[in-house]
C-alpha cells in the first residue's frame, strides 16, 4: 500500500484539517466529535445534515455550503459516524425549522443516524438514499445501497431548504429524487483501506467487478474485462430496467469516478452511455462527469440516471457554492 499519509491513525483528522483550511471561506471543522459545518450559519431553514464513512470524498464534506448541506459527519474510513457526531452537528446548525438527515442505506449508517434521531431534541426526519440497482431489492434484504445518486438528493434538498421550505417538504423531495434515481458501478481494481494495508479484494489483471459497491463490496458478478461500450451497455440496461422511463423523459446523467479513473476515460464512458440513453428516446438535459462519490483509491466508475421533472431540474440548476459543486455563485 502506497499512500500519502503520515500514519493511519491521523489520516482522517489531517485530511479534514486540510479540507477545512483549503476551504476556510466555506466551512468550519469541529473535532471530538468530528463534524464540519457551513461557515455562516443559515437562518430560518431546515438544517440539512449528511454523513457517513470517510473515503468517498468529496461526499459529504465537499457538498457543505450554500444550496446544499449545512453539516457533514465524517466517520472513519468506510465506517459510519457515531450518534454523538450527528447530535453535535445538529446542535450547531439547527435553525429553528428542524433537521433533515440524508443517510446512505447501510446498516451501520442507518442505525447510528437512527440512534442520533432518537436522542435529538429537535424535529427531525431522515431521507434514506438507495439508488444502487446492483443490489436486487428483494424483500428479505436490507434494501439497496445508497451511492452516487446521493449527490443529486443532497443538491435538490439543499436547494429547496434554501427557499425556507419546511421539514416535511424537504423530506418529500429527497424521497422523490431518490425514487427517481438509479445507479450502478463497476470496479477495475480493488480499493485499499489504509488501516487494513492491503486490497479489499483480489482482482485479476483481466477481470472486472460488475455492480461493485463504493466500499469495495463485491457486486453482481466477476467478469472478464471487456470494452467500454459493452460494460456501459450492461450498466445502462440495469438502470433502465429499474427506472423504466418512458420515451421522451428528461434525465440527468452522472458519470462518477471511483477515484483512480482518469477524466479522459470518464468522458469516454459518458459518450457511450449518452448514446445508449438517446437510443432509448431519453433526453439528457443535465450532465455531471467527475469524481463525486469515490471509493478510496479504486479504479472504476458508476453511472447514475435521475429522471428529471420541473421541480428536480429547477433544484438542480439553482445556485450552489460548495467545495465540490459550484455554479451561479
Amino acid at each position: 500500500m502506497k499512500k500519502f499519509i503520515n500514519n493511519v491513525d491521523d489520516l482522517l483528522v489531517e485530511s479534514l484539517s486540510g479540507f477545512a483550511a483549503a476551504h476556510a471561506d466555506l466551512v468550519e471543522l469541529h473535532l471530538e466529535p468530528h463534524f464540519i459545518t457551513r461557515k455562516n450559519k443559515a437562518e430560518n431553514k431546515v438544517a440539512i445534515i449528511s454523513g457517513g464513512g470517510s473515503g468517498h470524498e468529496p461526499l459529504h464534506s465537499g457538498y457543505i455550503g450554500y444550496g446544499m448541506l449545512d453539516a457533514a459527519c465524517p466517520g472513519y474510513v468506510f465506517t459510519s459516524p457515531s450518534p454523538d457526531q450527528m447530535l453535535a452537528a445538529a446542535e450547531a446548525v439547527h435553525a429553528g425549522k428542524g433537521v433533515l438527515f440524508i443517510v446512505k442505506n447501510y446498516a451501520g449508517d442507518v442505525m447510528n443516524f437512527e440512534m442520533a434521531a432518537e436522542m435529538l431534541p429537535f424535529d427531525n426526519a431522515t431521507v434514506l438514499t438507495s439508488d444502487d440497482v446492483a443490489v436486487e431489492n428483494s424483500t428479505y434484504t436490507t434494501g439497496r445501497r445508497g451511492v452516487a445518486g446521493t449527490v443529486i438528493v443532497e443538491k435538490a434538498v439543499g436547494s429547496l431548504a434554501e427557499t425556507g421550505a419546511d421539514l416535511a417538504a424537504c423530506k418529500a423531495l429527497g424521497d422523490k429524487v431518490n425514487s427517481r434515481t438509479a445507479s450502478m458501478g463497476v470496479a477495475l481494481t480493488s480499493c485499499t483501506v489504509p488501516a487494513a494495508g492491503r486490497p479489499t479484494f483480489d482482482m485479476g489483471e483481466l477481470e472486472l467487478e460488475m455492480g461493485v459497491g463504493i466500499h469495495g463490496e463485491p457486486g453482481r458478478r466477476r467478469e472478464s474485462m471487456r470494452n467500454a461500450d459493452a460494460i456501459v451497455a450492461d450498466l445502462v440496461a440495469a438502470i433502465l430496467e429499474d427506472l423504466k422511463p418512458a420515451r421522451g423523459t428528461e434525465v440527468l446523467l452522472l458519470i462518477n469516478g471511483f477515484a483512480a479513473t482518469p477524466l479522459m476515460e470518464l468522458y469516454l464512458l459518458y459518450n457511450s452511455a449518452a448514446k445508449l440513453l438517446q437510443a432509448q428516446g431519453l433526453v439528457i438535459s443535465r450532465s455531471l462527469v467527475g469524481n463525486y462519490t469515490t471509493a478510496l483509491d479504486m479504479a472504476g466508475a458508476s453511472i447514475t440516471v435521475c429522471l428529471l421533472d420541473d421541480e428536480i431540474r429547477q433544484h438542480w440548476d439553482s445556485p450552489v457554492h460548495t467545495a465540490a459543486l459550484r455554479w451561479q455563485r
Binding site: S82, M115, V193
Partner: protein, 211 residues
C-alpha cells in the same frame, strides 16, 4: 456482576480481539468492507483508556459508560449494536440487583433482545445475532435447570461456537453481506465471529474464578 470482573473481562477481551486481527479482517473483507477488526480495536482501546475512571464506579454505571463509549468510538453497524447491548445490561443492573446466574441470564437475554430490535434482525440472517441468540437461550435454559457453573460456561462457549459456525452456510439478509446474495455462502459472518470470541473469552475468565 462486579466492576472488577467487568474490567478484567475488558482487558482480556481486548487481547483476544487483537490476536484475531487477521482473521476478523479477512472475514469482513470477504463479505463486508474490511473494517470490522479496526472498529472493534478502536472501541476496545477507548474502553481500556477509561479503566481508571471506571474502577471506582458501580457496575451499572460502568456498563452504561462503556456502552456510550462504544457508541461514540466504534461506528459502523457493530457500534450501535454493541452499545445497545451494554446499555441494556446497564439498565438491568440499575433496576434490579443482578447477582444470581439467573439474573445475569435474564439481563443477557434482554440485551440480546435490544440488539434484535436495534438491528431489526433475528436468528438466521447471518449476523452477530446468530451467536448471541443461542447463547442467550442456553443461558436461560441451563440456569433454570441449575447446572454446574463449569458445565454452564462450557455450554455457553459451545452455543456461541455453533451459532458462529452456523452463519457459514447462510445467505445474509441483514448488514453489508446482504448485498451479496448467494456469494456470501461459505464465509463466517465477522460479527458472529467477534461476538463468539468475546463470549468465549469471558467464559474462560469466569472459569478461572470458580475455584
Amino acid at each position: 456482576m462486579k466492576t472488577l470482573f467487568i474490567l478484567e473481562a475488558m482487558t482480556t477481551v481486548n487481547q483476544a480481539i487483537l490476536s484475531s486481527e487477521s482473521e476478523l479482517e479477512s472475514l469482513d473483507r470477504a463479505i463486508g468492507d474490511g473494517d470490522h477488526f479496526i472498529n472493534l480495536k478502536r472501541g476496545c482501546a477507548a474502553l481500556l483508556a477509561m479503566h481508571d475512571e471506571l474502577s471506582p464506579l458501580a457496575p451499572a454505571e460502568v456498563l452504561q459508560r462503556m456502552g456510550m463509549k462504544l457508541l461514540s468510538t466504534i461506528g459502523g453497524a457493530s457500534g450501535p449494536l454493541l452499545a445497545t447491548f451494554f446499555m441494556t445490561l446497564a439498565k438491568a443492573e440499575k433496576t434490579s440487583d443482578v447477582s444470581t446466574l439467573a439474573d445475569i441470564a435474564s439481563a443477557f437475554q434482554a440485551s440480546v433482545d435490544a440488539v434484535k430490535q436495534r438491528g431489526k434482525a433475528d436468528r438466521g440472517e447471518k449476523t452477530m445475532l446468530d451467536t448471541l441468540i443461542p447463547v442467550a437461550e442456553t443461558f436461560t435454559q441451563l440456569t433454570q435447570q441449575d447446572t454446574d457453573r463449569l458445565l454452564l460456561l462450557t455450554a455457553l462457549q459451545q452455543a456461541a461456537e455453533q451459532g458462529m459456525q452456523s452463519t457459514r452456510e447462510m445467505i445474509a439478509t441483514k448488514g453489508r453481506a446482504s448485498f451479496l446474495g448467494e456469494r456470501a455462502i461459505g464465509h463466517i459472518d465477522p460479527g458472529a465471529r467477534s461476538s463468539q470470541i468475546i463470549i468465549h473469552t469471558i467464559c474462560e475468565l469466569a472459569k478461572t474464578k470458580i475455584a
